[in-house]
Symmetry: C4
Subunit: 127 residues, 4 copies
Amino acid sequence: MDGKGIGRKVWAIPGGHIPMGSAEPEPEFTSRDELCLLNTNEQPAQVEITIYYSTADPVGPYRLTVQPRRVRHVRMNDLIDPQAMPLDTPYASVIEADVPIVVQFYRLDSRRAENAILGTIAYPVDE
Amino acid sequence: MDGKGIGRKVWAIPGGHIPMGSAEPEPEFTSRDELCLLNTNEQPAQVEITIYYSTADPVGPYRLTVQPRRVRHVRMNDLIDPQAMPLDTPYASVIEADVPIVVQFYRLDSRRAENAILGTIAYPVDE
Amino acid sequence: MDGKGIGRKVWAIPGGHIPMGSAEPEPEFTSRDELCLLNTNEQPAQVEITIYYSTADPVGPYRLTVQPRRVRHVRMNDLIDPQAMPLDTPYASVIEADVPIVVQFYRLDSRRAENAILGTIAYPVDE
Amino acid sequence: MDGKGIGRKVWAIPGGHIPMGSAEPEPEFTSRDELCLLNTNEQPAQVEITIYYSTADPVGPYRLTVQPRRVRHVRMNDLIDPQAMPLDTPYASVIEADVPIVVQFYRLDSRRAENAILGTIAYPVDE
C-alpha cells in the first residue's frame, strides 16, 4: 500500500441485534455483534458511531480511535458511553470517520449450544 | 448526522425463503426472514415492498412507514396485507421508499434444534 | 415498479463449493449452493452461467430462462448440461443475462446434524 | 466471456479472525478463514495480500498467483511466508492484483460439534 487510505468515511448497518444469552463459555463464545474497522491510513481514524432504535431517539456519538495501519474489532456489547448498549433490541449503526475506513459487521449467536454466525460488509455511503 | 438521509430509494433481495417450522421456543426463535430498514431522515419514510414469486405474479405493495431517525426490523412472516406471506416458498423482495433508506436482510433458520443465521446488505439499485 | 428492470447484466460469485453429504432429510435439507435470480423486466431474461475451476478450464454456458417478473432459485447441484456440477470442489460462477437482473448467493451446509447457512448479494460487475 | 477480466484490482476484508480449534474431522472441517479469488483474465493474476493487525504493524505481502481463467480458494491458515498467520487474532486483509479479480470471504467455524459458516463479497475499492 502507498499509505493512501482506502474505503469510505460513512457506513451503515441496519440489522443490529445483540443476542441475549450465551450457552457457551464466555468471553470467547459470548453472543455479540461486532464492527470490524480497518484504517489503512498513515494517521489515526477518529470514529463516531450513532445508534438508531425503533422506538427511541438516536444515541451517540460513541467515540473511538483506530490507530494508523491497524484494524479494530469492536464488540457492540462493550459500548457504554454515552449509554450502555441494550441486549435483545433492534438497532442500526451509522459509522462516521474523519478519514476513509472499511467496515464489516459480524454476529456470533451462541444462545443455543452450537454457534451461529453471520458477516457482511457494511453499506458504504455514497460521497 | 446532519439530518440528510443516507442510502438509496430502491433495494432488492432475491433470495427470500421463509423456513417452515421452528424447533426452538417462539417467538424468539421463530424461523424467519427479516428486512431491516434504516431511516436517517428527519421525515418519515413511506415504504412499499413488492414480492416476486417463481410461478405467480408479483404481489404488493405491502405498505409500511419507518419513522424519522428510526430503524425498523420487519419479519416477513408478519406481512399479511394484501396477502399473507407463504412459508417454504422462494420469493424476492423489491423495496421502494420515498426518501433514501438503507436495507439489510436477515434469516434465522431454527428448523433444527440449533440456530443457523445469515445476513447481507441488500442490493442498492443504481439511480 | 414501472416495468423497467433493475440490476445488472453481469454478476460474479467466487466462493462456490457444494458441500458433499447431508446429515438431514432430503431434498429439503440437501447440502447445496443456490443462485437466486430476480428478473423484474417485462420480458424473459436469458441467462448464461459459466463455471470456473481451480485446475480445469471453465465449463459452460449453462443456459436458463427467468420468466418476466419472476424470481428463480437455482440449486447448483441440479445443473447437468453441459456437465454435471461436481460436489466438494471449489468453483466460481459468472452470471450473464441479456437484461438487468439481481443475483444473490445462498448455501445450506447440512453435513452435520444441524444446519449452517450463508448468503450474500453477488458482485455486480461494472458496466 | 470475451476474455476481458471482470472485477477490481484492490479489495479489503476487515473482519478476519481464524477460529482456534476444530471439534470435527480435519482437514475437511478445519476451522478457517478463506479468500476466494476469481481471475477471468487470459493472463495470470499476481496477487499480494497485506495483513493488518490490532496491535502490530502490517505484515506482507503474501504473494500468490491465480492462473488465467481459474478460481483459487486460499485458506488463510495456510499462509506462512513472510510469517505464519496466527489463530484467534483479529486481522484484516487487503488484496491487490495486477489485473481485475473478484474476491469473496468465507469462514467455517467448527469449534463446536456443529458447523457455523459465513460468507460475503469483499469490499471492492474505488479506482
